[in-house]
Symmetry: C2
């Protein structure tokens, strides 16, 4: 690399991934693709592993992405697919076509294959499945009978089970001799004759316990079995709480049918947090890689809620039109009250939604949480009520108007705190997602009340 290029490199956004592909390398690949120099492209990507090839694919613009995938189609590394962001992956998968996709899937572990297949549309899914070797196909078809986001969809079928009457030595022998075991094992699970998990032994325990010791005496009895139907969010909770690395998955009869490993759970944790971030800010999901039209359409759907919200608020203002006609300065202050209520309420909503998601908030401390938020609402309402009364009073040279704003602020911020903690709790109880609906509901009320209280008090006292 020339010095100039190095400088260019330093200007990259954020920090560069020291283990990954640099922005400069991506630029070079893009250039080589544009200039249609396949040999140069191959040279540039030669040192890249599946993870970094995935990064390159994500960064390329749509047209060049297609050219790139065509170029690597022949020796396509199937491990690229699970690393791709969903929107990008859908494009690449449909470009690969049934035959190449089926071949790729056959080389992935069953959990990764499921994640890919479950996103295909019905027709392609059937085609792909029927092009796969029968043994892999049966496994996938069975897993697909379980609901999306269930533990069954996360698990890999490959799992090591041993009986409790073995010795540590037996287990070690078994592991060293079996050829079709999963690539990465962290724990082996001890099962009873009905194949139900009754314990687990970590590999490090296996290695460090006397070979003559009985498994039944060396195993950890407190094994956290996960039912196939458990929601993935629940699975993530469990792994986090108990710092698990792997856990067995059992069917309705309690028989072990697979295992979930921490790397899959990390993806779930990411997904769930991302969902809350996006929903609290009125985006369904990150659409960074989604095409323009789709992004526009999805965001419009969420903004319609905002539109209805503001129209209701506008209706309230309309009701006080004659007051504003008489005293136009009311229009200057009325947005202050609505905005302060909305923003302070969203603070409460955010903390409450997350406390519910992380199970820090439950029945046992619900009333304490509500009391505390109301307390914060009173304190902060008093603070901003006083400050704004003084500022507005002096600025507009109208102490009475400042006073009205102050009182309105106290009421609206108190309401915002109360509704901000109560709405998510109620929505959660109704089994809906508070991250989606608590915000819009809340801001509608703080807007309506914000305008109504301020304009109402002002009409009463000042006109």
């Amino acid at each position: 690399m020339s010095e100039e290029e190095l400088d260019d490199n330093k200007e990259a956004l954020g920090e560069e991934d020291p283990y990954g592909v640099s922005q400069e390398q991506i630029r070079q690949i893009e250039e080589a693709l544009e200039e249609e120099r396949p040999k140069r492209v191959r040279e540039l990507i030669e040192p890249l592993d599946a993870q970094n090839t995935a990064v390159v694919i994500e960064y390329l613009p749509a047209q060049l992405r297609q050219d790139f995938v065509e170029l690597i189609r022949v020796q396509f590394d199937p491990h690229i697919l699970p690393e791709l962001e969903e929107n990008v992956r859908d494009d690449v998968v449909s470009q690969l076509g049934v035959k190449d996709l089926a071949a790729a899937l056959a080389n992935l572990e069953s959990d990764d294959s499921v994640a890919l297949v479950e996103h295909l549309d019905e027709d392609m899914r059937l085609e792909v499945l029927s092009s796969m070797p029968i043994s892999e196909r049966v496994i996938l078809e069975e897993v697909l009978t379980y609901p999306e986001d269930s533990a069954a969809r996360l698990m890999q079928r490959e799992v090591v089970c041993i009986p409790s009457f073995w010795t540590i030595g037996d287990a070690l022998n078994f592991l060293s001799r079996s050829s079709d075991l999963p690539k990465k094992i962290y724990d082996v699970f001890v099962v009873d004759p009905k194949h139900a998990p009754i314990g687990s032994v970590s590999l490090s325990a296996l290695l460090r316990t006397s070979k003559t010791a009985k498994i039944s005496e060396s195993m950890e009895e407190d094994v956290k079995s996960i039912s196939v139907n458990t929601d993935q969010e629940e699975v993530a909770m469990l792994f986090r709480k108990y710092n698990l690395i792997s856990a067995p998955v059992v069917d309705e009869a309690g028989r072990i049918v697979g295992m979930i490993t921490i790397d899959d759970v990390v993806d779930v944790i990411d997904e769930e947090a991302e969902e809350d971030i996006m929903r609290l800010n009125r985006v369904a999901e990150s659409d960074f890689f989604a095409p323009l039209w789709q992004t526009s359409y999805k965001r419009i759907r969420w903004l319609i809620v905002t539109m209805v919200n503001t129209l209701i608020a506008a209706g309230v203002v309309k009701y006080f039109e004659s007051s504003i006609e008489e005293l136009a300065v009311l229009a200057v202050l009325m947005p202050v009250n609505a905005a302060m209520g909305g923003n302070s309420g969203m603070q409460t909503v955010t903390v409450t939604v997350r406390a519910l998601a992380t199970r820090e908030l439950g029945l046992a401390n619900m009333w304490r949480a509500i009391n505390k938020e109301v307390g914060v609402g009173i304190l902060n309402g008093l603070f901003f009520g006083l400050v704004m009364a003084i500022i507005a009073g002096f600025w507009l040279d109208n102490p009475m108007l400042g006073g009205v704003l102050g009182v309105a602020l106290i009421f609206n911020m108190l309401w915002a705190a109360f509704a901000g903690v109560l709405l998510p709790i109620i929505i959660d109880k109704l089994d809906m997602d508070p991250a989606i609906s608590a915000g819009p509901f809340l801001t509608t009320t703080t807007d309506v009340l914000g305008y109504a209280i301020f304009l109402g008090l002002a009409s009463f006292f000042l006109l």
Copy 2:
């Protein structure tokens, strides 16, 4: 449990943790504490492990929490401490006092001890350290010389290193005979004579490779070493990208000094996502367990930004006071424009902030991202401009006014999209956190423009 109690139980918020303590159990413990029946409390918590005892402590109100900690002080399980939320942990730690805390720390792994000690205030930290056994103390003191949020703070010092000239059999023997190895090992690291990592062997590979094979030929050479000074966010990225379970940490000279395991990284991932959620919604960090006064104070600091924002917007409206005096209905529509701009802009900010955080957005695709957002802004501006023009025109029986609102909406939503993607990028380039400042900056501009464009156009065309 009586049937009544079971019903009560079902009403709990969210779903119950099937492996954990139930809301009903917490209520019973609370009751027993209130009734000062220590024997009953002990009975109730007897079956609970450290994780669930931590849950109980978090759920209890402050006074009962103290009573509870007093009750379990004698056989206090140190593993409870790392599981507690920060605010709660601080309380418990200061209640435990220097002597009991030092004893607890000595029984934790070094990474957990560091996480506890780094939050103590200077005085208590020194006292606690000097009460600890010298061997543990030296390790902690050294780790504490590294910056907060660095890889060094995350790592545990306990790590297994082997030379490359050994055989697999040598390594197995070493593992089974050494007594002071870390409890949980997933990989052993191969080091050169200078103690620099040159490879890794997973335990499952160790178990399944012939005992006579050379380590140098069996090891994974592509080991991802992490420097002590690497930021924890970077560490999380690396683990996620490469699905790592453990990785070696090296000092400035490249010597291995510890290892980071996935369970610590899961905590970091949680922390970082939580931070973005909170900051985007104007809370510094989750204050769910923080005391009332502190919560109020911290939220006020963030709301002051909102206050300044709304005052600037109010200043703009003031400028048009005479227009509003003439045509009061302007006050009815002006919040619509500001709100639609603010909300659509926050959609863009949210997606952009997260794309920066996850490194999906870099120099190589920056212009494409900006183009796309501007495209979405134009489309959505046109959509809502048209819809609102019609609604407002008919509602207020003033087509011209509807038209002015429509045009103002197009401009404001276009600006919101442009600023919504550009502001986070610029803030990120300036090495500040876009999750904190992009939102307030953006909404200030969409408010100011929202009012100015609408009122300006209306004054020009309608008055």
